[in-house]
């Protein structure tokens, strides 16, 4: 730096610029885990420390971009809250008094606790994992251990979307499908703030809007984020989307703007439903001897198998077949949604959307689907062997997430949306919504939950979770009472596919249905932002029996950071961060495939561990070996996977040839999907940037549910058992079976107290009902007392609780405000920055307000998970996260008001058990002046570690040496490719690479 040069005070000093500093000593590829989107990253390392993390341009998920979280990975790794050693509790639960122990001791204790339980009754272990991405391992481990009490976090996350989708289309929104942003002409997004497909959605929206030939409609009470760039914002009243969708369907049906051809072939719309009120077969499909459902063929004038190669089905009309009165299921559907109660005029007020707007949107949907068809010049063959010379797309794409699912009516609303897609004929068509392989799967997928066996030292015969289609699949005792600790798969929530982690602590502490011995948790902040009703939940953690022992006797927990949950557990198994470990993003878990092809990937350690922590998955495998779990030890009792998780990734086979990773299988690495383990598999992944992708030819890319070529490929890959078409279940017979049971049919009937509930909510067609909080308030006359809907949303730059330990991200948001419509504020008499009490029937929390106009006038919202508990996350006690930020979780009850039997159901969807976070109703009052400035409730701080940093100068010593040369710049046009079409002269390509350019 010779710039200091001259001492002549009057001379202008010219700066010499280092144009080409060496960025790092090394670049390593891996996969981001600042959220579950799983983007490819390139980590530049300097002296072993991350210098810069950028997106991997070749990665199928993010194609080079990184979001705000991903770009802050350095500060995640640099967190003040990182755990450093195994911890054993020495004080009371909640005190945060631990002693550090060695891993040997920690493993011994864990193995002892788990071993004792397994020798008594393996089912007394409740193993619940949070938002991890290794459920195929954890689920397998639980089954080998022998407990049925296993689930991941989906019950409080978005199981309504999974269930609604898997029981209707065999795929789902969430991360199992995505819009065809490249071709769509009309995109409707319902209730999404950021979601898992974070970067693909953003990239897609940018492209689509830039292309300019598409309309983007955001249906959301809030206009933030994606809503801001929508061409139309529909500020719906929370919990009423079902009605809105029905009104759209109402309009489309009345105008006959539905894709009958698609309905005939790909859906059960023409399947004949038995009409036999009171009978045990009422509402079920009429089937032939082979079990095929039947349709009425108008040409043949008789009932034929729905699977026949050529059909000319009737969509309406009662007929008599084999002595039974039958009607096509479409008749039921049309009859229901054409009823006056679902007309735009009828729903307008409840939804807060003018009837004319609904009518117009219906017309626009019809126009896009039927007048703006897109064609791909690509012949393909359908599942019945019929050849099509091109792919015809109905370019209406829809995406929906927790704004739909986090309500107690979310399952049905989600199904309603899928029905709308099917009616428009836009499922997996060009321009529509696409499955991501390995989806679609049979509707629903085949696995069934396995009931407990109460036998010591014995593995389960099957997976803990599955997809019930019949009351006999429920995990209940002979009296119909729940057998799982979370009461999943019971009559209370029969289709709780992902378990109900949010009920585990209450149930275990109140020993309802029974007490457990060990609670083993991984990666879920259950003592704070992942629980409703935090106050009582903390009480469940610390509840004691008369003899002074804890009601939940032992709690083992693996976290990577000092979260709010740490102080409440007995044994802490500290995990690594995502930059320090091998990890697997498997097709067996939550794949990051895209519509055009399947993909999976790994993480590799890019920085060296500097503390005494271990990868949880490896710890789990080692524990398995210590417990002699079958599959985790060799015949001689030695560990099967001594190399830990990476060893397992390469060598574990679920069935011969099928393992966690699909790429570079076979001894020589020349096979994919199926093939023997390849010892060099991980190296291959690393060489390829830590991901594997099979881009399918266009002929496989659409109509996957009925595309012969695709279905055969999926069978080969082991995703589906046989290459049969997957017929969309608009009318769902499985649901009807539960309803029939409630009506007194069959061997497995609900206990009396759940009969009415099952009968009501197991409607084979999507229905709408008031969210439970509102229903209960109506019943007790409290509706006017709590007139306001209160929601939370994910900030795009924060990930649940992890964000706040991040030096950079917390500067963006460290205190959340309650966003209120200006008109509402005027009514209540509050102004910007006032402090208010937000009060529900369950409690009250205090926060500061921000007045806006982009929100439904009956709704308030705030950012999710910004409020933190003093003592956690390594933050100093004066941090705004503790003192000004707040969580709505404090005032969301985890149970509903007692019903007429005095029973308190979980505050969840009655079908799936999905936590109903967004049913919350509140009133808002201005605080007294002396109450301004700090949030309440405020809990005492446990003895967590506290950062002593006053200043952070990361990177100060990282400036690379110069090489003093430079090359000329290239232009970078955001969405260059899409711009090329609409703006004359702009070169086609991607980013700064121009098509045809050689560099």
């Amino acid at each position: 730096m010779g710039q200091k040069g001259t001492m002549n005070p009057f001379k202008t000093v010219k700066e010499e610029i280092d144009y080409s500093p060496i960025v790092g000593d090394e670049v390593k590829f891996s996969t981001c885990y600042m959220c579950a989107c799983r983007c490819g990253i390139k980590v530049h390392l300097k002296d072993g420390k991350p210098r810069y993390i950028e997106g991997n341009p070749d990665h199928p998920v993010n194609k080079g971009v990184l979001c705000a979280k991903g770009s802050s990975g350095i500060m995640h790794w640099n967190s003040p809250a990182k755990l450093t050693k195994p911890l054993l509790r020495v004080g009371e639960r909640g005190s945060g008094d631990f002693k550090e122990i060695e891993w040997d001791e920690a493993m011994k204790i864990a193995a002892q606790w788990l071993g004792e339980t397994r020798r008594k009754d393996p089912g007394k272990l409740a193993f619940f994992t949070g938002r991890d991405q290794s459920q195929s391992l954890t689920g397998w481990w639980a089954a080998r251990y022998g407990t049925h009490n296993f689930a991941a976090h989906g019950g409080f996350c978005s199981v309504n979307m999974a269930a609604g989708g898997l029981y209707t289309l065999g795929g789902a929104f969430w991360e199992f499908g995505d819009p065809d942003f490249d071709r769509t002409k009309y995109f409707m997004m319902l209730g999404v703030a950021d979601d898992h497909d974070s970067n693909p959605i953003k990239t897609g929206l940018g492209k689509m809007k830039t292309r300019g030939d598409c309309k983007f409609v955001a249906v959301n009470p809030s206009r933030n984020g994606y809503g801001a760039i929508a061409d139309e914002w529909v500020g719906i009243r929370p919990g009423t989307d079902g009605l809105f969708i029905f009104a759209l369907i109402h309009e489309l049906l009345r105008a006959e703007k539905v894709d009958f051809a698609s309905l005939a072939r790909y859906t059960n719309a023409p399947w004949l439903v038995i009409d036999n009120p009171g009978g045990a077969d009422h509402g079920l499909f009429l089937r032939n001897k082979k079990g095929d459902p039947l349709i009425w063929d108008l040409k043949k004038k008789k009932a034929v198998s729905a699977h026949s190669k050529i059909i000319t089905p009737a969509f309406a009309g009662e007929r008599k077949v084999a002595g039974k009165k039958v009607v096509p299921s479409f008749s039921h559907l049309a009859e229901r949604y054409m009823a006056a109660e679902y007309s735009p005029d009828a729903v307008a007020e409840t939804c807060g959307i003018p009837a004319d707007t609904i009518r117009r949107i219906a017309a626009e949907l019809a126009h896009a689907a039927f007048e703006e068809e897109v064609f791909i010049d690509q012949p393909w063959t359908d599942a019945w062997g019929k050849k099509h010379d091109k792919m015809i797309g109905r370019p209406v794409a829809i995406h929906a997430m927790r704004g739909i699912s986090a309500h107690s009516n979310g399952f049905h609303t989600c199904r309603a949306i899928h029905v709308l897609q099917a009616l428009l004929g836009s499922v997996d068509t060009p321009g529509g919504w696409r499955y991501k392989p390995p989806f679609p799967k049979p509707i629903p997928p085949g696995a069934k939950p396995t009931p407990p066996h109460f036998t010591p030292l014995t593995p389960m015969s099957g997976p803990p979770a599955g997809f019930p289609t019949d009351p006999k699949h429920l995990v209940v005792d002979d009296d119909g009472q729940p057998l799982r600790i979370d009461k999943a798969f019971s009559w209370e929530h029969p289709l709780s596919l992902h378990g109900m982690m949010h009920m585990v602590l209450r149930n275990a502490a109140t020993k309802d249905p029974y007490g457990i011995d060990v609670l083993f948790m991984f990666m879920a902040n259950m003592a704070w932002n992942s629980s409703m009703n935090i106050g009582e939940t903390l009480g469940f953690f610390t509840a004691k029996n008369d003899d002074g022992s804890y009601k939940v006797p032992k709690i083992i927990y693996s976290d990577a950071f000092y979260s709010e949950t740490i102080p409440y557990c007995d044994l802490i198994l500290p995990d690594t961060t995502y930059l320090e470990r091998y990890d697997c993003l498997s097709v067996l878990d939550r794949p990051f495939s895209q519509g055009h092809g399947v993909a999976d990937g790994i993480r590799q350690p890019v920085v060296e561990l500097d503390r005494d922590v271990r990868t949880f998955q490896s710890v789990l495998l080692e524990l398995g070996a210590m417990l002699d779990l079958p599959g985790m030890i060799n015949a001689d009792g030695t560990p099967k996977y001594p190399g830990g998780y990476p060893d397992y990734l390469v060598n574990h086979e679920r069935e011969p040839g099928l393992g966690p990773l699909a790429g570079w299988r076979g001894k020589d690495g020349d096979k994919f999907g199926r093939g023997e383990p390849n010892p060099k598999q991980l190296e291959k992944y690393i060489e390829n940037g830590c991901f594997w992708e099979d881009k399918m030819p266009m002929s496989k890319q659409f109509f996957k549910h009925a595309n012969k070529e695709y279905l055969e490929y999926a069978t080969h890959m082991g995703w589906i058992a046989e290459a049969k078409p997957i017929i969309h279940q608009l009318y769902n017979e499985d649901l009807q079976r539960f309803r029939l049971a409630a009506q007194g049919h069959g061997d497995h009937q609900p206990p009396e107290e759940h009969r009415e509930r099952t009968q009501t909510y197991f409607d084979p067609l999507p229905m709408w009902y008031k969210p439970f909080e509102e229903r209960d308030m109506d019943a007790s006359g409290d509706t006017d007392e709590y007139p306001i809907h209160a929601l939370s949303q994910r900030p795009m730059h924060m990930y649940h609780s992890w964000g706040s330990q991040n030096t950079w991200l917390r500067q963006i948001t460290n205190a959340n405000k309650l966003h209120i419509h200006k008109d509402m504020a005027a009514d209540i008499g509050i102004v910007d920055d006032d402090w208010v009490w937000i009060e529900s029937r369950h409690g009250r929390v205090k926060g500061q307000v921000k007045l806006i106009t982009g929100v439904n006038k009956n709704t308030v919202w705030t950012w999710n998970a910004i409020g933190k508990r003093k003592g956690a996350w390594g933050l100093k006690h004066d941090s705004p996260e503790f003192n000004q930020a707040f969580l709505l979780n404090h005032i969301i009850s985890d149970v509903l008001k007692p019903n007429k039997h005095g029973y308190e159901y979980s505050n969840s969807d009655p079908v799936t058990g999905q936590a109903a976070w967004y049913d919350l109703r509140v009133k808002i009052t201005k605080c007294a002046a002396e109450e301004f400035g700090f949030t309440e409730p405020m809990y005492e701080a446990p003895n967590g570690p506290i950062s002593d940093a006053d200043i952070s100068q990361y990177g100060k010593d990282m400036q690379g040496e110069t090489t003093a040369s430079r090359t000329d710049i290239k232009e970078w046009i955001g969405q260059r490719h899409e711009n090329a079409g609409s703006i004359p002269g702009i070169k086609d390509g991607h980013g700064n690479t121009i098509k045809g350019d050689k560099s």
Partner: protein, 318 residues
């Protein structure tokens, strides 16, 4: 704008110091001041003291005071640089004048001429100081002629009050009487200039608006829905300083009374009704009051000045 103590002290002290020097040189030039060593030393010491401590205080708040010398290089374009250069250049005639007076017992003739050169340059320096602020288009409250006039008048005024007190201290009552009228006029002018300035900044039409700052005016009225950061960042701490109207009015009243009205009355009383020690004391009090008032005036000069960057943080016009 954030009213930083160092800058408030810098501008008021150097203003008063240069003003004082101006009067000393002028009076000397016109042969009104005896070339008394001790008196010269004390009077010049006050002037130099104010100027030097003022300048030091201005460098004290720099991130790198040791590099302050670099601030001389951009005199072609930068008013801050010009101020630095002028301050240094002005020290030359001022210093020579001081040497003549304090060491050679001479403050007229050549010394007087050199002093006058220094006096003019002192005023130019004050002008350059004012231009540091007045050249900032981003701060309409400063970017106007009243800023420049204000700095000059306040400098001359505070210098005059000072010189009046000092001459009285040294028993030169007749000179003080001589100065009585100009001081009175300056106090009244100062008040008028300030009044006009205040009227100007409050009646002034918005220079920039949230609409022009964002270019979103075509869609209607623009308001801030979310700040980039939860906490105040550098920009807000430095430029987002806000003062409540009520508070400002109060401080303005204090500035007016202490800076102008009270000195005016005290000087009148001292010259007409008092003698000897009483007069000296009251004149010193008037000086103290005037300088203190100017500190309040200067505090307001910063505190009331709105920066256009605040348009990105919730202000609707500046």
């Amino acid at each position: 704008m954030h009213p930083a103590k160092s800058v408030i002290y810098f501008t008021t002290a150097t203003g008063a110091g240069y003003g004082l020097f101006f009067w000393l040189a002028l009076l000397s030039f016109h042969n009104h001041l005896p070339a008394d060593k001790a008196m010269g030393f004390v009077m010049l010491a006050v002037s130099f003291g104010l100027i030097i401590t003022g300048l030091l205080s201005s460098t004290g708040h720099l991130g790198h005071p040791e590099r302050a010398w670099r601030a001389l290089s951009q005199w072609r374009s930068s008013w801050l640089s010009r101020e630095g250069v002028m301050a240094i250049l002005t020290f030359i005639p001022m210093g020579i004048f001081g040497v003549y007076w304090v060491f050679l017992d001479q403050n007229t003739g050549i010394a007087g001429v050199v002093g006058m050169v220094g006096a003019v340059m002192a005023l130019v320096t004050v002008f350059t100081t004012s231009m540091i602020y007045a050249c900032l288009k981003t701060i309409p409250a400063w970017h106007n002629i009243w800023t420049k006039i204000g700095y000059l008048v306040m400098s001359l005024m505070s210098g005059a009050v000072l010189v009046m007190a000092l001459t009285t201290v040294f028993g030169m009552v007749d000179i003080a009487f001589h100065l009585f009228k100009p001081v009175g006029i300056l106090l009244v002018t100062g008040l008028i200039v300030k009044a006009i300035y205040w009227r100007h900044i409050h009646s002034g039409k918005a220079v920039s608006t949230a609409e022009s700052a964002t270019g979103l005016g075509g869609f209607g009225k623009v308001s801030l829905a979310a700040s980039p950061h939860s906490a105040d960042n550098y920009l807000l701490k430095e430029m987002g300083f806000q003062i409540a109207r009520k508070h400002a009015t109060k401080i303005r009243l204090i500035a007016v009374i202490l800076g102008f009205v009270l000195p005016f009355i005290l000087i009148g009383v001292a010259m007409h009704y008092l003698q000897d020690m009483g007069r000296v004391l009251i004149l010193c009090l008037a000086t103290a009051s005037c300088l203190l008032g100017l500190v309040f005036e200067r505090w307001l000069f910063f505190a009331e000045a709105k920066h256009v960057v605040t348009l990105y943080y919730g202000q609707d016009k500046v």
